[in-house]
């Protein structure tokens, strides 16, 4: 098992290198030079100061050289300093924003996993029942609804009309006066809507996939055999069929991670959550290149880690996989 993990980790290296190359290329797509945004708006900056700045960010060197210099610092997790007035280290800005984004995504994944499997399995066991039809309707509406629009409607409904839930930020103004338990409840109340919004598309998608997988597995010979030898329907479905139907789901959950992390831009912007998505949106809008680059690379690294976890779970769940 350890060998398998190490081999997978080594395989991640070239992918990571590719990610840095593409991110670097994206930054250099922009017309003009990266420091324009900082300097053009400030009439006090002289040509000499501009030149100094170019030197400071290595912009006076050819692009491949710039990339190699960037890569050398990247290995030490040094992404340089933000172009914003605070000029803080990019890595610090990202690390303080990451926990809330990861929390929301992990909660979303948990909800997706816990709900989509029973919905899919029950739909497949009772095809064409009312539950199945309702489930199908939910699935199609779920992956056709624009998340930001649903978020607006839910904010109005639960936040303004009913007044049940807070609609922005992650804690109340009087958070620090609460007991420990009260603090947890307060954050949880703030997270209900964002987590719901970020999980709905994948939830619909995975329910559908689970249903399809289950329907296919149920048609296999070994299921007929189990039925023929007199197993109860319950045992056949839950012991023989479910486990095989679930295997591909593990991989697909891995695939849905880039979508989830990407979606955090929208969720966090709408609900004013100070996470990585909101930071990314702000950095892109202000052309804070070191920060854009840092978040692109770290966001992708999170995806790679998610995929690795999915692959390891797959290997653990499927006894046919040999990880030597």
């Amino acid at each position: 098992m350890l060998n398998y993990v190490i081999r997978r980790l080594l395989l991640m290296m070239p992918t990571m290198l590719g990610i840095t190359i593409i991110s670097f290329a994206v930054i250099h797509l922009a017309p003009g030079e990266p420091i324009d945004q900082m300097t053009n708006l400030n009439p006090k900056i002289s040509a000499a100061a501009k030149q100094k700045m170019r030197k400071m960010y290595n912009l006076d060197k050819p692009i491949p050289v710039q990339y190699m210099l960037w890569l050398k610092r990247f290995v030490k997790l040094d992404f340089g300093r933000s172009f914003s007035p605070d000029a803080r280290a990019v890595i610090d800005k990202i690390t303080e924003r990451i926990p809330i984004t990861i929390l929301i995504n992990v909660l979303s994944l948990a909800i997706i996993f816990v709900l989509s499997i029973p919905i899919g399995v029950l739909s497949a066991i009772h095809p064409n029942s009312w539950f199945d039809k309702g489930g199908t309707l939910f699935v199609f509406l779920g992956f056709s609804t624009p998340g930001f629009w649903l978020a607006l409607l839910l904010m109005i409904l639960f936040g303004v009309v009913l007044g049940w839930l807070p609609i922005s930020g992650i804690r109340s103004i009087n958070y620090y006066q609460f007991s420990d338990f009260g603090k947890v409840v307060d954050v949880a109340r703030h997270l209900i809507l964002p987590v719901l919004i970020s999980s709905i598309t994948s939830l619909a998608f995975l329910s559908r996939i689970t249903r399809q997988n289950m329907l296919e597995v149920v048609r296999q010979d070994y299921i007929t055999t189990a039925m023929a030898k007199g197993c109860s329907a319950r045992a056949v479905y839950y012991r023989h069929a479910l486990r095989n139907a679930l295997l591909p789901i593990v991989t697909i959950i891995g695939f849905s991670i880039p979508g989830l992390i990407g979606g955090s831009v929208i969720t966090e912007s709408i609900f004013s959550i100070p996470g990585m998505g909101q930071l990314f949106y702000a950095s892109v809008m202000s052309r804070d290149y070191p920060l854009v680059m840092g978040i692109l690379v770290i966001g992708s690294a999170l995806t790679l880690i998610g995929n690795l976890v999915a692959d390891i779970s797959y290997a653990l769940a499927d006894p046919r996989i040999k990880y030597e």
């Binding site: 922009a30 990407g262 929208i266 692109l296």
Partner: protein, 284 residues
């Protein structure tokens, strides 16, 4: 595949679709939208840009069926013109993605070896980016505009098609008709595009249909964030963005464009899913 055999194959598919309730509903929505988009200047009751300062933020009425916006423009007319934008973005973005995906997938699957290895590695890298991050970064770097939105959704969305086409090519290239074509000395280009590709199009068609749904959603999300289609061009996403500031007292500005996006995307999803069943392809 001879022409009469393929004709009967498509007849079979059409017959299956005609019996499928999903396909009928999806097809109806898609046709309705195409009609609305094409006939926009004829059916829109008002000019989408004409400002009526005396009638700001009016709720739905007999004059303005879906109300007016903060500049007194007719919401229905703006949404009818918005249908053009959504469909154009959907078709062109998916066209670009499909073109790139088919070429990469065909070359990868047909030639195999290091070409395949290199291209599939590239696909892996592209799939590792949180999709929306990449789109957002590229558009913001290039300046937001409708053309850039279409191009960027296209160049960040071809990887699925490439994998599908590659998989089809891997099995099709071993078939007898390919060996036959090669034995009479036909070039690789002819074998790839004339002989193999037509047989690999079924999954491409399904994924393109579903892709249009995705592209429309992405465009609306970008416009919602203010970096998609720029005002005053009406797109459903941008009408929503302008409307969200007034959501507490002018709900019609936020409700109707959202519903339009939902039904359009639903239409393509229903059509795509029933095409998948009718063509009997697996995408996963």
């Amino acid at each position: 595949m001879s022409s009469d055999r393929s004709a009967s194959f498509w007849m079979l598919v059409l017959n299956r679709l005609r019996k499928d309730w999903f396909a009928i509903a999806g097809g109806a929505i898609v046709l309705l939208l195409l009609t609305v988009a094409v006939l926009a200047p004829v059916i829109a009751p008002y000019d989408p840009g004409s400002v009526e300062t005396a009638r700001l933020l009016e709720p739905p009425s007999a004059d303005h069926w879906l109300g007016t916006d903060e500049l007194g423009r007719d919401v229905l007319s703006r949404m009818i013109y918005g249908a053009r934008i959504s469909l154009m973005v959907g078709f062109i973005a998916v066209g670009i993605a499909t073109l790139i995906g088919v070429i990469v997938g065909a070359v990868s699957g047909y030639y195999g070896g290091w070409v395949d290895e290199l291209m599939m590695r590239f696909v892996d890298v592209m799939l590792t980016f949180p999709s929306f991050f990449l789109i957002l970064a590229v558009i913001a770097m290039l300046e937001p505009s409708i053309v850039n939105v279409m191009i960027v959704i296209g160049i960040t969305g071809w990887m699925g098609v490439a994998r599908l086409v590659r998989a089809e090519f891997l099995s099709l290239k071993e078939r007898d008709f390919v060996a036959a074509a090669r034995s009479i000395g036909q070039s690789d280009a002819i074998i790839i595009f004339r002989h193999i590709l037509p047989n690999a199009m079924a999954p491409v068609l399904v994924s393109a249909t579903l892709g249009i749904a995705g592209a429309i959603l992405t465009e609306s999300a970008l416009s919602f964030l203010g970096i998609g289609v720029q005002p005053p061009t009406p797109s459903w996403g941008s009408i929503l963005t302008e409307g969200k500031n007034y959501i507490e007292f002018a709900w019609w500005l936020s409700l109707f464009p959202g519903l339009a996006i939902l039904f359009t995307v639903l239409g393509y999803n229903l059509l795509g899913e029933s095409l998948r069943d009718a063509l009997d392809v697996r995408l996963n």
